[in-house]
């Protein structure tokens, strides 16, 4: 189902903080540099990745960098 974004970005991502192991590969891969590791720990004791909240272009690179099957969901503006 289409979701409406908060800002005029071309995309955004959702990170499942419980699935994330804080490896940081998505932070490294992100072209727009809009990801960081949370200062907080998740249930399993990792610092999960977080989206800065702005600047995503929905390219999907973070999804392929991530080793977990469903930790990252990428949304992109409908052309």
């Amino acid at each position: 189902m289409p979701v409406t974004a908060m800002r005029e970005d071309r995309g955004f991502i959702e990170i499942n903080a419980q699935e994330c192991k804080g490896c940081g590969l998505c932070v490294e891969a992100c072209v727009q540099k809009v990801l960081h590791l949370s200062p907080h720990l998740n249930h399993y004791g990792y610092h999960p990745a977080e989206y800065d909240g702005r600047g995503c272009n929905g390219c999907g690179v973070c999804f392929y960098a991530c080793p977990e099957p469903g930790a990252i969901r990428v949304f992109k503006a409908v052309a």
């Binding site: 289409p2 979701v3 409406t4 974004a5 908060m6 800002r7 005029e8 071309r10 995309g11 955004f12 499942n16 419980q18 699935e19 192991k21 804080g22 490896c23 940081g24 590969l25 490294e28 891969a29 399993y44 990792y46 929905g58 999907g60 690179v61 999804f63 392929y64 960098a65 991530c66 080793p67 977990e68 099957p69 469903g70 990252i72 969901r73 990428v74 949304f75 992109k76 503006a77 409908v78």
Partner: protein
């Protein structure tokens, strides 16, 4: 505000949650930054994109990726170390419509399983192999693998891999692409976004190669192992990109997809009802005619010994085959030297009404000694009350026992009279069954017709069998009652 829609997310062929060790149901079991997770995702996307989820059988190995079946909602088989391509071969041949994908690490595929992968590839099996190469044994704690880079310190190469002592890194993709059969072999890497996207294309193409029926496909995936390499995930990714890729060139090694012809569909397996006819098995065994004691509590342990070439093994095989046809529990254990002729040869046969616990006969109830050395060697182990048949005119004086029934007959001379001394073993069979009605004559005859190749030989063997019966009948009539007690089970003795 533009409208947004999801473009990337969990592949449909993954389970929603993973039923593993209670609470860890959200995450895979892989370490942070492990390459297996990414490889798995790329495979899952290929399966989803090709719409083959219901046809996929995933063969998981021994190693870190052993738990694929916790994640993939497809058919799953987990196999012994290194054997994934062999099992995948069987699965694909038994279920030609399925898409069989094996997934192995480098310890599994390149070391213990090097034979399986080499021959599956060389046979051009219609399977897809994913080979995660992280150049180390990960699950077991970091031992050197055949793929480990020169100079790398591991727990088994504490001073670094040395080319003189430890050999060179094994280039699996190059080796396999040198064969004629493989249709698609490519090495990819997980060292950067660009490499990961190239890996995705290669994995999809490898699976597609099987979907199209073209032949064997393999993708080697250079994969990071941050934990064992003692690097953080970002450093490990860089190591893959810069160091591993230098030793293991990332490129397509062989692509015959444009020219390969699809394999013809295999002939359908015959109907189960057809099998007895194809295997020339008797339709149904007639009820046995042996005395009651022999039917219900039979536990006959037969040792047959002689020279190689006397037909020792065939004689045992005939007994076991006929016993099986008669509904008995049987075993046949041959033991012979490397010579086809003139070495020593013996076999152990068990015919029993209850399941056979061991095929080994250490205490025999029947000994068939076709030469003197065999008699000398095995006479001692015959159970008291047992039966000994010896090939000769008489039992040698120094090999006589009072507590067993011993009969000597010149089996091979008798056989010579019916046409050939080679049928001596069948004369023995006739004599044995005359002395001890273990098996109904008609069942033995049917087993013989199946086992003996050629009409001419069957005719000679039937004559030999009859002569054996006659010869035994002439020398003894009371053997049966004397030895029956030796061939019934010990439990039966207790009940008696």
């Amino acid at each position: 505000m533009p409208e947004m829609k999801q473009t990337h997310g969990k592949a449909q062929c993954f389970y929603d949650t993973y039923e593993r060790k209670g609470e860890l149901t959200h995450q895979t079991h892989y370490c942070p930054g492990c390459g297996h997770g990414i490889s798995m995702k790329l495979l899952a996307e290929a399966i989803d994109e090709l719409g083959i989820r219901d046809r996929v059988i995933l063969v998981s190995p021994v190693g870190c990726s052993v738990f694929l079946y916790y994640y993939f909602d497809v058919g799953n088989v987990q196999v012994a170390h290194g054997r994934a391509p062999a099992v995948a071969t069987g699965l694909k041949r038994a279920r030609p419509d399925s898409i069989v994908i094996s997934y192995q690490g480098d310890g599994d595929l390149a070391a213990i399983g090097s034979s399986e992968i080499l021959h599956a590839a060389n046979r051009g099996e219609l399977i897809t192999c994913l080979f995660a190469n992280n150049a180390i044994y990960g699950m077991t704690g970091g031992q050197m693998a055949p793929t480990t880079l020169l100079g790398r310190k591991t727990t088994t190469t504490p001073f670094g891999r040395d080319k003189i002592k430890d050999g060179y890194p094994l280039h699996v993709s190059e080796v396999l692409s040198s064969l004629e059969a493989p249709v698609f072999v490519e090495r990819v890497a997980l060292g950067s976004t660009k490499q990961i996207l190239a890996a995705k294309r290669a994995i999809r193409k490898a699976v597609e190669t099987q979907v199209k029926g073209l032949g064997f496909s393999l993708v080697e995936i250079l994969s990071p192992c941050p934990t064992i390499w003692k690097q953080d995930p970002v450093e490990a990714q860089k190591f893959v990109r810069e160091t591993m890729a230098e030793v293991y060139p990332v490129s397509n090694k062989c692509d015959r997809t444009a020219t390969a012809e699809p394999h013809p569909a295999p002939a359908p397996a015959p109907d189960l009802d057809e099998l007895p006819r194809i295997l020339k098995l008797p339709a149904a065994a007639p009820a046995g005619t042996a005395p009651r004691a022999l039917r219900e509590d039979l536990d006959c342990r037969i040792k047959i010994a002689g020279f190689g070439g006397q037909g020792v093994l065939l004689l045992g095989q005939l007994l076991a085959e006929a016993g099986m046809d008669d509904g008995l529990e049987v075993s046949w254990l041959p033991s012979y030297g490397p010579e086809m002729r003139s070495g020593t040869s013996n076999c152990h046969v068990r015919l029993a009404s209850k399941p056979v616990d061991s095929p080994l006969v250490t205490k025999s109830s029947v000994l068939i000694a076709l030469n003197e050395p065999s008699l000398d060697k095995f006479l001692e182990e015959v159970e008291p009350g047992g039966l000994v048949l010896y090939n000769g005119d008489e039992i040698p004086e120094d090999a006589r026992r009072q507590d067993v029934t011993m009969r000597a007959l010149p089996f091979f001379e008798i056989a010579d009279e019916v046409g050939t001394a080679k049928a001596g073993n069948i004369v023995v069979l006739g004599a044995l069954l005359e002395a001890l009605p273990l098996l109904p004559a008609e069942i033995v005859d049917r087993a013989m017709a199946r086992v003996v190749k050629g009409e001419k030989w069957l005719e000679i063997d039937r004559k030999a069998m009859e002569r054996g019966r006659q010869a035994m009948n002439a020398v003894v009539s009371a053997v049966v009652s004397a030895v029956v007690s030796a061939v019934v089970s010990k439990e039966a003795h207790c009940h008696a």
